[in-house]
């Protein structure tokens, strides 16, 4: 009798890239729910639009590259990239901004480098940084939390804003947007205010920013769930948040009126999303255990430095991209000890 011949191991695999990516999407849901609650329909519209764009761009490039389309779309990585990009963008971002961002993320940063697994940089962060540098005005139109805003846009109005840029009659952008907490801290300090004066504003909510703090906690909850499921390694987020918290604590303890508190750093911006969902991107990050600690610490350090003394209010994206450059070198110097490597008789 004849049999098929294959190489070992012969057991069916237990894991699947698509499954991993879908779990990442699931882990984002609590954060998305909170974001939608505080920042309105724009979040969902953007997610929906960016998902369509990402899949369309990915399929288009694959067709041009004459690569099979179905298995690649089926790995859900384009959707993860799209969602992460959207969660970094202002809700109510116009359609063209999304299109450009998704284009750079999927086509340039991912597919032109060879697709999933070959991109040296985090695609979502490339898309984000391209937009931040090219369209700074559009990128700072952040919607005010619904709990403190005077005007609430419904679904249809939000759709109209996204696709035509037209606000309902009688409402200006000023009425529905506000500075992000980190932006407020930054410009406040520049104008000579102290941290406590700045944080007196209602926009700072209970801890670090109305809406923002709950969004950050929801992302952290999703991240912890991924940790429990073994989807991400504990080292990267721990190093990112630990370094950011430690550095900000030192400066805050020395001069609490001119340096934001660790709570502000951890919950007032993109730190949780960045630590659990962006810095943990395995493709563009470090792959060794020690390397992940170093990579995460680098992201935390650069985030703090850029936030405190750099030109941008938040800095997760720049920190991640800079550390992406360092990842291959970190990996080369952090190979773990192999079984029996320095064992002596």
């Amino acid at each position: 009798m004849k049999f098929q011949v294959d190489s070992s191991p012969h057991l069916a695999p237990v894991n699947d890239v698509g499954h991993v990516m879908r779990q990442v999407l699931l882990a984002l849901l609590p954060g998305i729910a909170v974001a939608t609650w505080y920042f309105g329909w724009g979040v969902l519209i953007n997610l929906w639009l960016a998902t369509l764009l990402a899949v369309a761009f990915e399929a288009g490039v694959l067709a041009l590259r004459r690569r099979p389309i179905r298995p690649v779309i089926g790995d859900w990585s384009a959707v993860v990239t799209a969602w992460l990009l959207v969660l970094a963008l202002p809700p109510l971002a116009p359609w063209w901004l999304l299109t450009i961002g998704v284009f750079f993320a999927i086509v340039v940063a991912k597919q032109l480098y060879g697709g999933l697994g070959y991109n040296p940089f985090n695609p979502a962060m490339i898309g984000y940084v391209v937009l931040l540098i090219s369209f700074p005005a559009a990128m700072t139109n952040w919607v005010a939390p619904t709990t403190i805003a005077d005007v609430h846009l419904g679904l249809l109005d939000s759709l109209r804003v996204t696709f035509t840029g037209a606000l309902p009659a009688g409402i200006g952008w000023d009425a529905i947007t506000t500075a992000t907490p980190l932006d407020a801290v930054r410009s406040g300090l520049r104008q000579g205010e102290t941290i406590s004066e700045i944080q007196n504003s209602i926009a700072f909510g209970l801890l670090a920013g109305e809406g923002w703090e709950w969004m950050a906690l929801a992302f952290a909850a999703g991240g912890l769930w991924m940790l429990r499921r073994g989807i991400i390694d504990w080292r990267t987020p721990t190093a990112v948040l630990g370094t950011l918290a430690a550095l900000s604590a030192v400066f805050w303890l020395v001069d609490a009126e001119h340096y934001a508190s660790p709570i502000q750093h951890l919950l007032g911006g993109g730190a949780m999303l960045g630590a659990f969902f962006i810095a943990t991107d395995p493709v563009s990050g470090s792959t060794t255990p020690t390397g992940r600690l170093i990579f995460g610490a680098g992201v935390g350090l650069l985030t703090f430095v850029i936030r405190s003394w750099g030109g941008y209010p938040d800095a997760i994206a720049f920190a991640v991209l800079l550390m992406n450059m360092a990842a291959p070198t970190i990996d080369a110097y952090t190979r773990p000890r192999v079984y029996g490597e320095d064992s002596r008789p």
């Binding site: 009798m1 004849k2 049999f3 098929q4 011949v5 294959d6 190489s7 070992s8 191991p9 012969h10 057991l11 069916a12 695999p13 237990v14 894991n15 699947d16 890239v17 499954h19 991993v20 298995p71 790995d75 990585s77 060879g114 697709g115 999933l116 697994g117 070959y118 390694d233 395995p282 493709v283 990050g285 792959t287 060794t288 255990p289 990996d331 190979r335 773990p336 000890r337 192999v338 079984y339 029996g340 490597e341 064992s343 002596r344 008789p345």
Partner: protein, 527 residues
């Protein structure tokens, strides 16, 4: 009973063990069939050398191929009959290439050969070389699957052994031959351990058994208690693949690590599987060479999985027949377990010394290789690697043929256990990449050695030529010097033998000069 502190190796997998399928019934002895095929290469090292001719009658247990060189193993007739051929036949080997085999047609009498070693009542009266010779003559190799000639492991300085490790872990799913052997023949295994202890004088003997084999653990403990061996202990270890890997088991039992690129012996340890130890008992105490072993015939592709005691050289198809035949949708046949087993193209292949298990599978339990995605460097492989390698990096380097980097990342410490492959979310056949890279590197090494030899030969030749040239020149110079000397001596003696010649040359030169002047003069006048 002492509670031993266990070591722990990195990574590993909790797999469904599927042992129950084949352990419900006792081991059944398969009566010898009609034809036996015995490959000359069933072990690591040199092929055995046939000592019979086609047409020869052989008795059961008769030597039919002798070990050739230090690292080799004898092969014996599994039953009485006639040698019908010594020829290339398909064998169960990953290469799929046919190899030299001795074919024996049974005469049905199953009669022992004359002149086999007599049983030994007290092995303690045999000295060490005699014991090792008995083991070598019995053709014993590691029966756990590696098939390393056992005598080669035992030919060592007695004082250097700290620990004798007896491997009863049997960590790979589906395989249960060691489990059943321990349950049913623990006394014989313990007897074999006593022989090895006499031979090696270890300070301690540790028998490692995974905790999913309670019956085997009980049986071994009872047999040990009855035999009253000193400093010998059954150590129950957690069920975790690949705890039965030699290096991993040593780590668990002793918390020591075999040096990278080294042997257990380098840290004073010798490791033998329970099957091998049982064969040592058979050879030394009962005088029986290795002509049979226990094989698990199992999988969802056979109807009545169980363990059989089979004569070596029996065709797999006969053993499967005895296990009720195949399930209708069987598609794959392995020798060994699902993690490290070798896929066989056909069942018309012999069971050999290394055959611990035949696993027949239906598509339900199998992987499909065609759906591999790119590596996303998630590091799942790294988490489970029992050698603590970075499989994701090894994959990149192997695929890019960056073999220097692959070696620097300890490619050769990979034991090909398949853990990385099993957890890879991208379904990349990682082990296949590593095996290929190892093969390429070995090939490159051989070529480099050859090139090095050629270069040294070339250098030597250049040196020789230079030396010869120098010698020749020295000789010439000496000759010339001698001539000069002679000439000077003659000149001094006033011998003007050369003069007419010199005068002739001077006259010719003079004529040429005159002619040249004449020509120049004519030219000047003409202009």
């Amino acid at each position: 009973m002492s509670m031993k502190r266990l070591g722990r190796f990195h990574g590993g997998l909790h797999l469904d063990d599927h042992k129950a399928e084949s352990t419900g019934e006792p081991i059944r002895t398969l009566p010898p069939g009609n034809r036996f095929v015995l490959p000359l290469h069933q072990h690591i090292g040199h092929d055995a050398e046939p000592v019979v001719q086609p047409g020869d009658r052989v008795g059961k247990g008769q030597l039919i191929a002798a070990p050739h060189g230090e690292l080799s193993a004898a092969i014996h007739a599994p039953t009485s009959g006639v040698v019908t051929a010594i020829e290339d036949r398909p064998v169960p080997h990953p290469s799929g290439l046919p190899a030299r085999c001795i074919v024996i047609d049974a005469d049905g009498e199953d009669r022992w050969a004359e002149g086999l070693p007599a049983p030994v009542a007290d092995y303690r009266r045999l000295d060490k070389p005699a014991l090792v010779a008995r083991i070598r003559d019995a053709g014993i190799v590691g029966l756990g699957g590696a098939a390393f000639p056992t005598d080669a492991k035992l030919r060592i300085d007695k004082n250097s052994i700290e620990t004798l490790v007896v491997n009863g872990a049997e960590c790979e799913p589906w395989i249960s031959c060691d489990d059943m052997l321990m349950r049913e023949q623990a006394d014989e295994i313990v007897s074999g351990i006593a022989v090895l202890q006499h031979l090696l004088g270890p300070r301690e003997t540790l028998i490692g058994i995974e905790d999913n084999k309670p019956a085997a653990i009980d049986a071994m403990r009872r047999a040990l208690a009855a035999a009253r061996l000193d400093d010998t202990e059954v150590v129950v270890i957690p069920t975790l693949y690949p705890s039965g890997g030699e290096k991993q088991l040593i780590k668990i039992l002793t918390d020591k690590e075999v040096p990278s690129g080294g042997l257990p012996l380098h840290i004073g340890i010798i490791c033998q599987s329970v099957g091998t130890v049982h064969a040592v008992h058979k050879a030394v105490i009962e005088g029986e060479p290795l002509i049979e072993r226990v094989v698990t015939i199992t999988g969802d592709g056979v109807r009545q999985p169980r363990n059989f005691r089979v004569r070596l050289g029996t065709l797999i198809s006969e053993a499967v027949e005895a296990a009720g035949g195949y399930a209708p949708d069987v598609v794959e046949l392995l020798m060994g377990g699902p993690m490290m087993g070798v896929a066989l193209p056909s069942d018309e292949l012999p069971l050999i010394k290394a055959s611990n298990c035949v696993l027949a599978s239906t598509p339900a339990n199998l992987r499909r290789h065609h759906d591999a995605h790119p590596c996303i460097r998630c590091g799942e492989c790294m988490k489970v690697c029992p050698a603590q390698l970075l499989p994701q990096q090894l994959f990149w380097y192997s695929r890019a043929k960056d073999y220097d980097k692959a070696e620097a990342h300890h490619l050769f410490d990979c034991i090909e256990c398949g853990c990385c492959d099993y957890v890879c979310p991208s379904h990349i056949p990682l082990v296949q990449f590593y095996r290929h890279a190892k093969g390429e590197i070995r090939q490159l090494r051989r070529e480099k050695e050859k090139a090095d030899r050629a270069r040294i030969r070339h250098q030597l030749r250049e040196e020789r030529l230079a030396r010869e040239k120098a010698e020749r020149e020295a000789r010439l110079a000496a000759k010339k010097a001698a001539l000069e000397k002679k000439k000077a001596a003659r000149a001094a003696a006033g011998d003007n033998e050369d003069d007419p010649k010199k005068a002739a040359i001077a006259a010719a030169l003079e004529r040429a000069r005159a002619r040249k002047a004449e020509l120049a003069k004519q030219k000047n006048e003409a202009s």
